[in-house]
Amino acid sequence: MASPLEQFEIKAIAPIEVGGLDISFTNSSAAMVATLVLGTALLVLGMSRASVVPGRIQSIAEMSYEFIAGLLSDTVGAEGKRYFPFVFTLFMFILIGNLLGLLPYSFTFTSHIIVTFAMAITVFIGVTILGLVKHKMHFFSFFVPPGVPLAMWPLLIPIEIISYLSRPISLSVRLFANMLAGHTLLKVIGGFVFGLGAITFGVGGLLPLALISVLTGLEVVIAFLQAYVFAILTCLYINDALHLH
């Protein structure tokens, strides 16, 4: 039987090598391109024939816009509007990538740590630069604990800095672990459908089949939830960087 981890294998579709670097167009790249095309198409088609009473696609486009716009104004406030394009792109990319990954025979690029880490480190570096540009040296007061004796500073400041540096790791691992675990679980239970069904003339396969239907629904929820968590944490980090004073 196929390994439940086989679905995460990177396969080159069009091998390209430039100066010893393997930059092949892989199934992961294909999934990302599909996500970009679908996301762009959804928003462009949705708003191309905008009417007062929105149709289905227009509703989806408007709802996702309002969702992220609301998230930003709730967490960051009025200044958050400037960062809307970034957070919205990130949210849509992760959400559509997660959802596309649930289709049979597709590939979930968010189940690769390097993809989620690249996104998280972009957010982290961007937010740090934002804080440094906005507050100059005041940014470092972020790490200084209030009301703590001076003698404790050498201990607490490194802890704060490590805590700050651990942000991109917890941000990326959260998304990656959820997608990896969910998709592995689906494949394992899927294997039970065949394995149990084969020895009991199909009857034993019914229970895991019911379970996998429920789990697929749960995976759709997780796809939304993880995209939301990534977006809201990005908003909180932006808020932290902006409001140090």
């Binding site: 406030g77 490194p158 651990s166 917890s170």
Partner: protein, 97 residues
Amino acid sequence: MSGVGLALRLGVDFVAGVVVGVGIGLLLDWWLGSSPAMLIVFFLLGAAAGTFNVFRTASGQGGAVGFKQARDAETDATDGSDKKRGSNARDDSKSSE
């Protein structure tokens, strides 16, 4: 967020602190040739940072890092400025401090 989701988040928050601490420790050891002194020191600091992360997540301070937020919340409460800041989760931090 579901119970499993919260548990996973707390776990990841803790491990992330330890990973960064150990990473810094190994890098410093490699650079200074002081193996394993820096690894031990930064493992402990990383574990402390991880515990801090878990505490902040569990006490509803969201993705907060740093003390600035809590200090500002205190001054906001005293001078009564109406500056809009933070989500509901963030507002809880005012009462916990």
